[in-house]
């Protein structure tokens, strides 16, 4: 869908982005994760034509595009970090205004607005001035406004920032639905739960440079896989060895704790427990989260 080649951006001699190269496939939800100040918003600003890169190319369908070119702008949508709409217009007026500015046919616009209001759960509030909406409703309206011209690719800059868990969850559902409709989504976030839940692929951006890229599982794999920690009453090394070989797992000792790792570990837990029956004093299943992976990655990067 879109490829970013060697994008760099300097502000007064300070590099905010350093040769960032990545691509988003059609229908993919791509997450750019990184700490505050990593350069995520700068990249979004470049991709939405707000600022020009110092150098680098943006390709869409294999052709170089310039963000200020209308052929590109009309194919992308934006959901900024802060909800963007006119507070003294109601949701319907906001959507109608944007549909006119995008040149959407009046009849089509009416249908599209109704469907967007329904999707955002704002149909009942469509004639209330948007400044009176809750923060969650405002962000849903902001999302709907980014979709009024039916873009193929939607840029979302930390869209759930500042939302309460319920509102955040509702917005995630919306994003997942959009992805299911086949839209490409480029989302920046520092919420790892969000990235893990809604993204197909992730990239870690730190200090303006792209450090890692892969699926959430692959990123988590950087830390290691999930593991089972066992404390046994007696020495069952032989049984443990046989059991692990049969289940395709590996084990090692860390002090007096047996660490078992391998694929599909949660499914194999009952067999491990029954295979070592009578000797297990403690059994803990430890899942590796994206946050664990990210934090570890950041610590290693700092070192």
């Amino acid at each position: 869908m879109i490829s970013i080649k060697d994008i760099s951006k300097e502000f007064d001699g300070v590099k905010a982005l350093d040769n960032v190269t990545l691509s988003v496939a059609k229908g993919e939800t791509f997450g750019l994760i990184g700490p505050n100040g990593a350069g995520k918003t700068t990249l979004i600003r470049i991709l939405t034509g707000q600022i020009a890169p110092t150098h680098g190319d943006i390709l869409m369908g294999g052709e170089t595009v310039y963000p200020m070119d209308s052929r590109y702008r009309l194919r992308v949508g934006l959901v900024p970090q802060e909800p963007a709409f006119y507070g003294r217009l109601d949701a319907h007026e906001n959507l109608l205004l944007l549909s006119r500015l995008y040149g959407v046919d009046a009849k089509e616009a009416a249908e599209r607005i109704d469907s967007l209001l329904a999707m955002a759960g704002l149909t009942e509030h469509a004639s209330r001035q948007a400044r009176f909406y809750s923060r969650g409703m405002q962000q849903r309206l902001s999302l709907a406004m980014g979709l009024v011209h039916e873009p193929e690719l939607i840029y979302m800059d930390e869209p759930t920032s500042g939302l309460d868990p319920e509102a955040r969850s509702a917005l995630w559902e919306l994003i997942i639905r959009l992805a299911a409709e086949g839209r490409s989504i480029f989302i920046t976030t520092h919420n790892m739960q969000e990235a893990d839940r809604i993204c197909n692929r992730l990239a870690i951006l730190a200090e303006g440079s792209l450090r890692e890229e892969g699926t959430p599982a692959e990123i988590k794999g950087l830390l290691g896989t999930d593991r089972v920690e066992l404390q046994l009453l007696d020495d069952r090394t032989t049984e443990l060895d046989v059991l692990c070989r049969r289940l395709g797992l590996t084990w090692k000792m860390e002090g007096d704790t047996v660490i078992v790792t391998g694929l599909e570990l949660p499914d194999k837990l009952p067999e491990i427990a029954s295979g070592l029956a009578g000797s297990v004093r403690n059994l803990h299943y430890r899942e590796v989260t994206l946050e664990d992976a990210f934090l570890r990655f950041m610590r290693e990067a700092e070192r």
């Binding site: 702008r73 934006l78 802060e82 217009l89 109608l96 040149g103 406004m145």
Partner: protein, 564 residues
């Protein structure tokens, strides 16, 4: 086009639904117009003036005068010589009591600062009193007249004068005389009331101190003190009437108004008096020619003398030598008669050589309210133009919509253009309504209202341009409002809207020339008050449009540049 309409309609909704913005942009200029308009609406009202008329003889009242003379002792000696018997007093109060009790008819006090005051009284005749006053007046350039004994005593005690002279008012020479002017007979007070009635509202006071108190309290704008024998001095050819005018210069505008009004009507009195005197002299000269009453003396006219000489010449036909001598007399009479006629004609023509005939270029006299409306409209263009330009643009930032709009089919040109359309419409409609209200409801003069509308449109571009430049430095509406006020406020004072440009120093005039509002005021005044056509104000219109183009371009560039 649909997008442009949508943007303009959206901005109008944003203004209309924001009460504060609606009030600031649309309603406030009308309030300002109302307030300033009301202040100037009745500027033609008469100036309140206090009159202290000392040229009147009240029964039992005293006339106190003071002077600074080089030799008070000499004056004292002459006073003693005139008096049969002189009383001396220990204080002014004691002397005043003696005059009040009619024990004496005149008081004299002398004493330079640091010296002992000497108070004396005597029973002088009216002629002796007149001679004493003349003594003092010929020696001094500082002659003051007081309406009460207390004022005189205080002035003497403070060393303002070194001589004080007091008599009964009825004894003051030539007091309370009347003068015949413009077919009516006037005493001092009625003269001032009559000639000042168009521009002043006269309130009479019995004492100067009372009038001064009211001046300090702001009840009147000035005090006129007419001296004793004021009318007599007007009538005589050899004395100058010294009228004292007291103004409150803590308010320069008020003082200027009062002084101008007083000078205006007193000059009319003066012109009347001079004309009377000239006519009297001319008449006297003709009496010398024709014979009759020459200032109280019956004279034989020169014409009669010439006739007599011609008769004499006839009777001396046998004496050619004597006839020649008579001819010399006849020639002299002819020459003198001719010279007198020339002199009379010269006097008539030169006594009042200037007759001001004041007319307005507007073709009719203009009032203060007429004159203030172009400036008011220009100020509302500045206010609404700058604020709407700045606010409408900054709203996009405050709402976070600038980025979103940047992704639509409408570019930044459309964004700025739509603001310009709406802001111009608001400014234009607002100013047009003001103009209409001023003309239709308040009867303000506007010789070319259609041209004024064009000037309003041209001026609004540059003011909106200033607003766009301001928008580049503000992120929120509140900041834009503050910046707009900070920028607009000094401009108001630098453009001739408040003070005339011609009265400013040269460098301020150069600064004013760099401000579009200056040209807006000039052009609006031209087409509204000076009867000028669009062609006459083409230069100002051109400059306004040029300013508009430059400021709008600069504003747009700054707004775009700030995003990066």
């Amino acid at each position: 086009m649909r997008g442009w309409k949508a943007l303009v309609a959206k901005d109008w909704k944003l203004i209309f639904r924001n009460r504060l913005l609606l009030a600031i942009l649309v309603i406030y200029p009308f309030l300002i117009m109302g307030v300033i308009g009301a202040a100037f609406y009745d500027v033609g009202r008469p100036v309140p003036i206090g009159l202290v008329n000392l040229d009147r003889a009240g029964p039992g009242e005293q006339a106190w005068s003071g002077a600074v003379v080089p030799s008070p002792r000499g004056l004292e000696r002459r006073f003693r010589r005139r008096a049969v018997q002189v009383e001396e007093y220990g204080s002014g109060e004691e002397a005043e009591a003696a005059l009040a009790a009619d024990r004496v008819s005149a008081l004299l006090a002398t004493g330079d600062p640091g010296e002992t005051e000497l108070w004396m009284g005597a029973d002088l005749s009216r002629d002796e009193i007149a001679a004493t006053i003349l003594d003092v007046q010929t020696e001094t350039e500082v002659w003051r007249e007081y309406s009460t004994a207390q004022e005189a005593l205080a002035s003497f005690a403070q060393g303002e004068v070194n001589v004080v002279f007091a008599i009964r008012e009825g004894d003051y020479p030539y007091i309370g005389e009347t003068i015949w002017l413009e077919d009516e007979n006037y005493d001092a007070a009625s003269l001032v009331l009559r000639f000042g009635q168009d521009v002043t509202e006269i309130e009479e006071y019995t004492s100067e101190s009372e009038a001064r108190d009211d001046l300090k309290r702001g009840r009147i704008d000035a005090v006129i003190v007419l001296p004793r024998a004021f009318v007599h001095q007007l009538k005589t050819l050899d004395e100058i009437a010294r009228v004292q005018v007291i103004i409150d210069q803590s308010n320069l505008v008020k003082a200027e108004f009062a002084e101008t009004s007083i000078r205006g009507f007193l000059s009319r009195v003066q012109e009347g008096v001079v004309e009377n005197k000239t006519q009297a002299v001319v008449a006297g000269l003709y009496v010398l020619v024709t014979g009759g009453d020459f200032f109280g003396t019956e004279v034989v006219g020169l014409e009669q003398i010439r006739e007599n000489l011609e008769s004499l010449k006839q009777s001396l036909q046998d004496r050619p030598d004597l006839q020649e001598m008579v001819d010399v007399g006849i020639d002299l009479a002819n020459t003198v008669i001719s010279d007198i006629e020339d002199a009379a004609a010269y006097l008539r023509g030169t006594a009042l050589p200037i007759d001001l005939e004041i007319s307005s270029v507007a073709g009719r006299p203009l009032s203060a309210k007429d004159a203030v409306v172009p400036s008011l409209i220009a100020l509302s263009i500045l206010w609404t133009g700058v604020l709407s330009g700045a606010i409408l643009m900054v709203i996009e930032d405050e709402e976070g919509m600038r980025i979103r709009l940047g992704l639509t089919e409408m570019g930044s040109f459309a964004l700025v253009g739509s603001k310009l359309i709406l802001a111009t419409a608001v400014v234009f409609v607002q100013s047009a309504v003001m103009l209409l209200l001023a003309v239709a409801v308040f009867g303000v003069f506007a010789s070319n209202a259609a041209a004024a509308l064009l000037v309003i449109a041209a001026a609004s571009f540059s003011c909106i341009g200033i607003g766009l430049v301001i928008a580049a430095f503000a992120r929120q509406v509140a900041g834009a409002v503050i910046l707009s006020v900070l920028v607009s406020f000094p401009l108001i004072f630098m453009t001739g809207a408040v003070f005339p440009l011609s009265q400013m120093p040269a460098f301020m005039q150069w600064i004013a020339r760099a401000i579009p509002l200056t040209y807006a005021i000039e052009a609006l005044s031209g087409v509204m008050l000076r009867g000028e056509s669009l062609a006459d104000v083409a230069w100002q219109l051109g400059v306004l449009i040029a300013f508009g183009v430059v400021l709008l371009t600069l504003g747009s560039l700054l707004v775009r540049r700030r995003t990066d």
